[in-house]
Each structure stands twice: as C-alpha cells, then as structure tokens.
Amino acid sequence: MSENILEIRNLHATVGGTEILKGLSLTLPAGEVHAMMGPNGSGKSTLSYVLAGREGYEVTAGEVVYKGQDLLALAPDERAQAGIFLAFQYPVEIPGVANSVFLKAAVNAQRRGRGEPELDAMDFLKRAKVELAELEMDQEFLSRPINVGFSGGEKKRNEVFQMAMLEPTLAILDETDSGLDIDALRIVADGVNRLRAPDRSMLVITHYQRLLNHIVPDHIHVLAKGRIVASGGKELALELEANGYAAFTGEKSAA
C-alpha cells in the first residue's frame, strides 16, 4: 500500500513574528521512516511543534494533509486522537500527576476519540507491564509523577513507552537521541524499531547521524533555513557526517 500518511506542501510558519519555516514540502508514505536532519536553528523543532499543534507556532502559508484530512484545522488533542504522536525533545516534568493516571487518561481519551471502548484499570496495567519490560523499565515507574526527577535517559524512555502504549499512525521523534548515553540510545532505538509497521510512519528528527545507525531510515531529508535542501537514501547521513552541513546550507562549517 503506497498511501501517503503525511503531505506537507509549501509550509511557512512563524514563531513570535519570525518566519522559521519557509516553504517546506515533504511526503511521507505509509510504513516508511524518514529522517529529518539539519543544523541548529534550521527549523526542525518548529516543524515538530507545528505538526503537533502547539500554540504560538503560526502557519502563515501552505498546507498539511494527514491521512487525507486538513491537519492544521485540528486541536492538539484531536491530532493525537487521530494517531499523531510527538516524542518531545524536552519532556515536561509534572509534579503530582502519576504516570499511570496520565497515560490511562491519554489511552482512553484516544480510544473514546476513535469510538473504541475504554481500557479498564486491569487491562491497562497488563499492557503497561509488557511495554515497560521491553524498555527495561521498573514497574514502580508507573506511580511516579510524570518525568519528575527522571534522568535524561529515563525521560526519553518514557516517551518511547508512551508511544508504544498509544500505537500512533505517525510518530514524530524530536531529537530523541539527545542526552542519551550509548546504552540508553540502544534501548530507545530498539523500542522505536519494534514499533515499525506497514501502517505506521515515522519522522525522526536529529542533529547527528549516530541515531540513524540504530534506526535506519528509508529516506533522509536535510533541512536548512526552514526548507528542505536535499533528500536521499541513508548514504546521505554518512556524507553529512563526513562533510558537515556546510555543503548543503551554503555556509562555512561552524565546527
């Protein structure tokens, strides 16, 4: 099946009056994993927030079609219910709200949104335990407040755990590799790879090539100054690693 999950056409977006995305276009077919690479300030995180519907990220031109419908018309919770998942670069700490309470509310809000019956506490717990074990996470994690006191690695694992529980159609991973040591990177990448499926697409946003050794993408796009300047196969990542972004951005290498 070659249905496109996501089609972005000529997307322009501003943050605080400054234009960050300047005509970005991208097509993501079902079942494919695309990597979005680019230097700092190229608009990678802005793209992820625009897709998730964050307030303050204003689309000034272009369109985003998700499974045939206008994504930009939906509120953030409606997008999530429709199957979009953003793994945050900086997961938020929320004292007083237990992971289990939050995640059960999210799972059931999504099931309600799709007209499916809600999971009861037992079924929820059963599923959560399986996914936690896969990610080598302790069960007591469920009763801890969301991300409070978590290490960088634990926060990222929590994102992948939520993704596994919510089974999205489109997963956007925003610099999920940042702040991870090599063991945590392997666990997180394994978790992501396990979720690859013919009916699930992923957009993996990263600054470095190293994550793509673990999550091998079908396509790589290079983002610079708010626009895609190059697209290719996985060999593109190696070229970037060797030569830096300068060749694509038209600037001298900063590092």
């Binding site: 509120a75 709200v97 939520q162």
Partner: protein
C-alpha cells in the same frame, strides 16, 4: 424579646448576652478551674472584641460576616450528613452535630490497648483532672476568637494514647453543621500522645445534607506530643458557603516527637485555619502542610506560627492554593528562632495557582531568626497553569478540560503526596476530587 426585634446584634454582642444563660449547661459546669477559665477568657474577649483587619495578623482576612449577623450558640438540631468522602479504614469515628456528640452517627466501640477515645463532655464529667491545664486560651489579643472558643466550648473529642500505644488506622472526627440560621458552634478537641505513641487523626468539618442557614464554626484542637510520639493530623474544612470557619491547632512537641499536620480548606465563605506550634524540647520535627481550593468569593486563610525555642528542631512547611473566580487565598507563616535554638532547620514554601484573572493570593512569610548556625528558607510563587504541561497532556490526546483537571489535581496532589501516602493521603485526594467534581473548575464560568 422586644429588644432583639428592634436591634441587630453582632456576633460578639450575641455571645456576651447569651453567656449567663448558657454557662450552667456547658460541659464541666461547676468545676472551679474551668469556670474561671471560661470567665477569664470571656473577659479578655470582651476587651479585645472580634479581630479586625487593623491587626497585623488579620490584615488580609475580614470577619465582617460576624459583624453583620448575631451568630450565637444554641441547642443541637439533628441532621444527616451530606455526601462526604469516607476514610477507607478507621479505628473510631465520632460525629458531632452543631458541636454536640451524636451517638447514632458515631462508632467508638473498638479502642485498642492504651487508647482512649471519648468526648469532651464525658471526659470533663468523669476525669476532669486529666484535662486541667491542657485547654489553651488565646496567646495575644489577635487571638480573641480563641478566647471566645474557650468561654463557650461545648464539646469535641478527647483522644489519649498511653506511652507506647499505637494505632494503625486513623480516628475520624466528623463535625456537621445543621444549618440552623445564625448558629455558632464552639468545638474543642484534645489529643494527648504518651511517650513513643503513634496515631492518625482526621477532622472533617461539613454540613448536614439540608443545611440552609448561615453559621459560624469555631474549632480548637489542643495537641501535646510526649517524647518520641508521632501524630499525623489532617483537618478538612468543607462547610457550606454561608459559613464562617475559624480553626486553630495548638501543638506542643517534645523531644524527637513528630507532628505532621495538614489543613485542607474547600468550603465556607470565610475560612481561617491556624496552626500554632512550639517545640518543648530539642530534636522535634514539624511538618505543616495544607491546601486551599477556592471558587466564587471565598476567602481561605492558612496561618501558621512555629516557635523554635530549643535547639535541633526542624520545620517543613508546604502550602498550595488553587483559586478560581473571585476567590482569595491567604498564607501567613511565622517562624521564630530563639537566640539559643542552634541547628534549627526551617523551610517554608507556598504556591498558588490562579485560574482566573480576578482571583488573588496573598502570602506573608515572616522569619524571625535570632540564632546563628541555623538553616532557614522560604519561597513563594503565584502563577497560572503551566502551558508546557497543558500542551504535553493534550499532545497525548487528553482533551483540554480533562488536562486542566489533571493538572489542578496534580498541583494539589503534590502536597498531599508529600504529606502522606497512606489512608489519610488517599482520603485527602478523594476530598480534592470531590471538590473538582462539583465545580466549574476552569475559571471560565
């Protein structure tokens, strides 16, 4: 009678006029020391009057509602309790309606070894000597309400644990107002824990299901913890919105004893919950926590005073408020460290969440530190719901209203988690959920 028909009294006048008629019917009538205590307290109240906002301790909180109407004590009226959350397990439950013991709504048949649970009226009748010197009065003119309570105290619970006695389940004290118009209730509780004793006591102030009239509830709980004793003490104020609620816990903490207190304010038009704690010997610990949840035009005040007069004691304070509509929250925290109270460690934190532009929070930390070599800190924040947190929840599919509800519960839940993760904590969380269920909850009403 013709007099009262032509003249509107205030609460102070109504009490002063009622005293002579009531005194012979109050518990412990005929006991010299108690008669004297009541008369002295009334005399001081007569001089001081109701506290006004001119007093520093009352600068944020007005008792104008007591000036407008003649609240006064009167006979007990019956009433079934309104739907309130229940503790999942209790060692005993004592219910008072309009400040007087209601046997039918009580269950005190299972006292454990070394544990005595009774009423103030019974204790004064059977063993008055054990209470002499234990019942507090006001410590300064700003506390004239507590003198009024001492003069008129009608009933309450008396809980005593012998040395080494321990209760695993909480004792629940329930105080219901019948809603008889202009009724004042003066409740007095006493909790005495012997050396190394351990107990949990929950006080819940609510109203009868059909309560309609305005009322005034005054409640003082005197607490003394002997060496190494530990008390977990929660006070839940969920009275009708026509009520003025004034409560005080007076706590004395001996060496290595631990007092953990939680005050939860959700009801009443005006609510003032005070804690007045002093360390009687070195190495005691106090944890004073609380939350206020306000809507409409409620005024909810938490005021604490902690006296570090001896070395090596610790105080940890955390108060959180959620304020919607025009609600007004107040936190005042005084910590006094005497010159020789070395190695004191006192930390105080207050946080308020304003859900509406018209809600307001006043915070007054006061640290009077006269000793060197102490650790003291305080911090206060006032803010709106965290947009990042709201977006995080919504990005997982949780609708905005539910996300706001989770965050508000979490904000209050955080301080409950810090206080207790057992039966008492679960009860406090249920009370917060109950408050959320019955309200508009998001400030857009």
């Amino acid at each position: 009678m013709t007099e009262s028909a032509t003249e509107t009294l205030n609460t102070a006048q109504a009490h002063l006029r009622a005293f002579d008629a009531l005194r012979s019917g109050l518990p412990g009538a005929g006991l010299d020391w108690l008669e004297r205590l009541r008369a002295d307290a009334l005399g001081r109240f007569k001089d001081a009057g109701l506290p006004s906002r001119r007093l520093e301790a009352w600068k944020f909180t007005t008792l104008a509602a007591l000036e407008r109407a003649p609240f006064a004590p009167g006979p007990q009226a019956g009433g079934a309790p309104d739907a309130l959350p229940e503790l999942t397990e209790t060692a005993a439950r004592i219910t008072f309606v309009d400040g007087r013991f209601d046997e039918g709504l009580s269950e005190i048949s299972r006292p454990a070894e070394g544990v005595s649970v009774t009423t103030m009226a019974t204790a004064l009748a059977n063993d008055p000597g054990a209470l002499q010197g234990r019942l507090s009065q006001a410590s300064d003119p700003a506390g004239s309400l507590w003198d009024l309570n001492a003069a008129f105290m009608a009933d309450g619970a008396v809980i005593r644990l012998a040395d080494g006695a321990a209760l695993d389940q909480p004792i629940h004290l329930v105080f219901l107002a019948s809603g008889t118009a202009n009724r004042a209730c003066h409740i007095r509780n006493l909790i005495l824990l012997g050396t190394g004793a351990r107990a949990q006591v929950v006080e819940t102030y609510g109203n009868a299901a059909d309560a309609a009239g305005a009322g005034f509830t005054s409640a003082v709980t005197d607490i003394s913890l002997a060496e190494g004793a530990a008390l977990t003490h929660a006070r839940v104020q969920d009275e009708s919105l026509k009520t003025v609620h004034a409560a005080r816990a007076v706590v004395s903490v001996a060496g290595e004893a631990v007092y953990a207190g939680f005050a939860l304010a959700m009801g009443a038009e005006v609510s003032r919950q005070e804690t007045d704690l002093s360390f009687a010997a070195p190495d005691g610990h106090a944890r004073l926590m609380g939350a206020y949840l306000g809507r409409g035009r409620q005024l909810l005040d938490h005021t604490t005073r902690v006296d570090h007069a001896v070395p090596g004691c610790t105080t940890e304070e955390l108060f959180k408020g959620v304020l919607d509509d025009h609600a007004h929250g107040v936190f005042q925290g005084l910590i006094r460290v005497a010159p020789h109270a070395l190695h004191t460690d006192a930390r105080q934190k207050s946080q308020a969440l304003l859900l509406s532009d018209r809600a307001a929070a006043d915070t007054k930390p006061e640290l009077e530190i006269l000793a060197d070599d102490v650790k003291c800190a305080h911090g206060a924040t006032v803010g709106d719901l965290d947009d990042d947190a709201l977006f995080y929840l919504m990005a997982r599919g949780v609708p905005e209203a539910e996300a706001r509800r989770l965050l508000i519960a979490g904000f209050a839940g955080d301080v409950i988690d810090s206080f207790d993760r057992g039966i008492v904590g679960a009860y406090l969380s249920a009370c917060v959920a109950n408050w959320q269920d019955r309200g508009t909850g998001d400030g857009h009403a």
